[in-house]
Amino acid sequence: MRAYIIRRLLLAIPTLLGITAVTFLIIQLAPGNPAAMASRLGGEGLTDDAMSREIVEQTKKLYGLDKPIPVQYALWLKRLVTFDFGTSYKDHRTVLEKILERLPVSLQLSLTSIFLVYLFAVPIGVYSSTHQYSLSDNAITVFLFILYSLPNFWVATLLIMFLGGGDFLNVFPIYGLVSDNYEQLAFWGRVGDRLWHLVLPITCLTYGGLASISRFGRVGMLEAIRQDYVRTARAKGVSEKVVIFKHAFRNSIIPIVTLLAALLPAMLGGSVIVESIFSIPGMGQLAFESILARDYPVIMGVTTISALLTLIGILLADICYALVDPRISLE
């Protein structure tokens, strides 16, 4: 097992290199030039061509964009070895500082949400597969499909309008992750305050995943139930409970474990809308803004970190395979 993990970690290095190289190339090739943008944002200025070209050249030099792309990439890699992602073009803070400020916020949201997705999705999946085509299964199916088709921003807007005070019910806070008086609260007060703030954003992040994962759970389970070993178990007179949870369940769970690896990065990147509606300073907003502003160092930093998380996610999923299915060996 340990040898396997080490091998996988070593393999992750070329993968990561590949991802960063491609990203670096793509963002540089995309139209829009940060140096020109920087000098343009204040208007074109009362200036002649030579002057404005000179200013753009100076800015390129300042940003390190005057060198050829491969050299820039090599320099970027060199700095990466020491975990130096460079500084943002926008505010000249280090990229690492900016990411570390936001990563915990995003992880807090996405890990909670993933936990809740699995907590609810797995039982729902098992239930609807064991009650296939019953009224309750059909009802769940319809309900999940409706949930799945509701766009995030719409649900979030409705939630803050109807449960966030103003003209309707004032149940939940809608600004940030803590109240203004958070610092003055006692420990449990803080925990409660934070949880209370998390309710609405987590709801928005969770329902979509819940709908899809529980469908996958249902399908996986239905397939497992039809296998010969399940029929054998039943024929032997094993109780239905044991058949379902001991024999069928573990085999059905592999596909949804795979999905876990895909869910984490998707949640990190895909929460832009939820973050902006609930004024939560997370990774999604950082990534989105840096792309719009062509803030190359931040884009690269965010990509590298999420690539790393994805690779770790995949590795974890593989390890989970071995745990749920003894037939899979990692040696």
Binding site: L46, H92, I174, I277
Partner: protein
Amino acid sequence: MASSRNSQIFKFLCIPAIILILAGLSCRRQDSDEVETSVTLGASESAGEPVQGDWVIRRLQAEPKTLNSITARDMYERIVNEYVYDSLIDRSKKTLELQPVLAESYTISDDRLEYTFKLRRDIRFHDGAPMTARDVEFTFKRIKDPTVDAAHLRHYYKDIESIEVIDDYTVKFKCTEPYWLALEWAGGFPVMPRHIFEKGDFNNHPNGRHPIGTGPYRFVKWDTGREIVLERNDDYWGEKSYPDRIVFKIVVDETAALQLFKRGELDVCVRLTPEQWVRQTKGPRFEQNAYKLSYDEFGYYYIGWNMRRPYFADKRVRRAMTHLIDREGILKNIRYGLGKIVTGNTYINGPVYDHSIEPWPYDPSEARRLLEEAGWVDHDGDGVRDKGGVPFSFEFLISAHSVFAEQLATIMQEDFKQVGIEMSIRQFEWATFEQQVHDRKFDATTLAWSVPVEGDPYQTWHSSQAEKGSNYVGFVNAEADKIMEEGRREFDAETRRAMYRKLHAILHEEQPYTFLFCPKELIVVDRRFENVKAYNYRLALEPKEWYVPKERQKYGRETDAS
């Protein structure tokens, strides 16, 4: 601050995260009836003597990147730093006249090339250090320094060649050319403390996130992604401010912002959407708790016709296009009528704008006549007009995410089809869109300009700016060029305004743009405040002069929000 001094700035139509500088400056008022300086809200007169106390909690639509005034490029920085930093001179919001701030007085040499400022001797930075000529020099030199990330400012300081410190309290700027805006630029930048910023990397200086200035409010804290807090500087030498604190909450989403306002967590909410204004800010409960305030935004929307294209080279065709666009209808249907149709390039309530010019009416039959006169007839009977083998088929470039541009484009496409003009719509993400426009790779596009109350049209309309400058549409006109060249050196405000009015008339005649409208800025303010006004100047709102009678005060000096 100097970034506001340029006359016209690209305004981002949609994503609030990027730049939108509502700069209003450089208005020189001579006759009292010319400029209406402020709109007062329905504040009751019986509120009694103004008292200090309470907080003002405002919304920022996006987080400033930095609070370093020189390297910052967004308006959000300005909204905050306006309270923290002062400049040598500034416009008075009330009279719109230039008045000394950190300077005691200034003199201008007869050739208009030297500007000498005498500084006040009683100014201290928030950390107690005195402000001297060295700080002014230091700040100016940072603007000119190529290693400082301030390219956007350097354009404007190109003609101000050098600064000379005459003594501790006197500085002299030297310019290479006489220019009527030079005084404002020379004296208009925020003075930053040399003793703080001279050590370390200027671009990434820690005090970029912890500004220390000379202004009426001092910086307290910046909670990333959440809020920036300022508190009143009681040692301030100038006009008295009333709120104890000004808190800026970062709220990106507009629905959430209005919701927070209704909950009482925000006291001021700016840039409401027309829909929110009409539908979501009414009812007795809302009206009891809030003022609704609107004023004409410092800017205008337009459609730019790339005059290098065969169809748009002819002014009759451009006129025809304007006749085909039902601006009244569009304004009414897309923006609930919240705006005014404009005919020219200056601020609609500014001293230059010529109200005697009537907008070209919506008139498809006149458009047909003009098109035929210009030779655009459907020769081959395919339903599309053509001339010399070129079909009248063009692409309308818009920025993705701009809902307005999208709606406008669809309406135009339909209306143009009726008269045999084929228009396709192309959407690009902002940075790409901007690049395309900058490279002149477009047939027609829609954008908005921010304009000051009175500014210099040179960079947007002079022929020298047609290849690389902001004259994207390629407007070249000898008479207009002459007006703009002479205008820059005309120091008599009235003469200059008359000249610029002529330019307005030329633009109306030539229609390089179809000028659309000046939108309304829509604002709601909590009703506990008195003396709430919107000025015809820069950021329009001045919360530091708002006050709350003692019994209505909501936040104490030290207590936190409840």
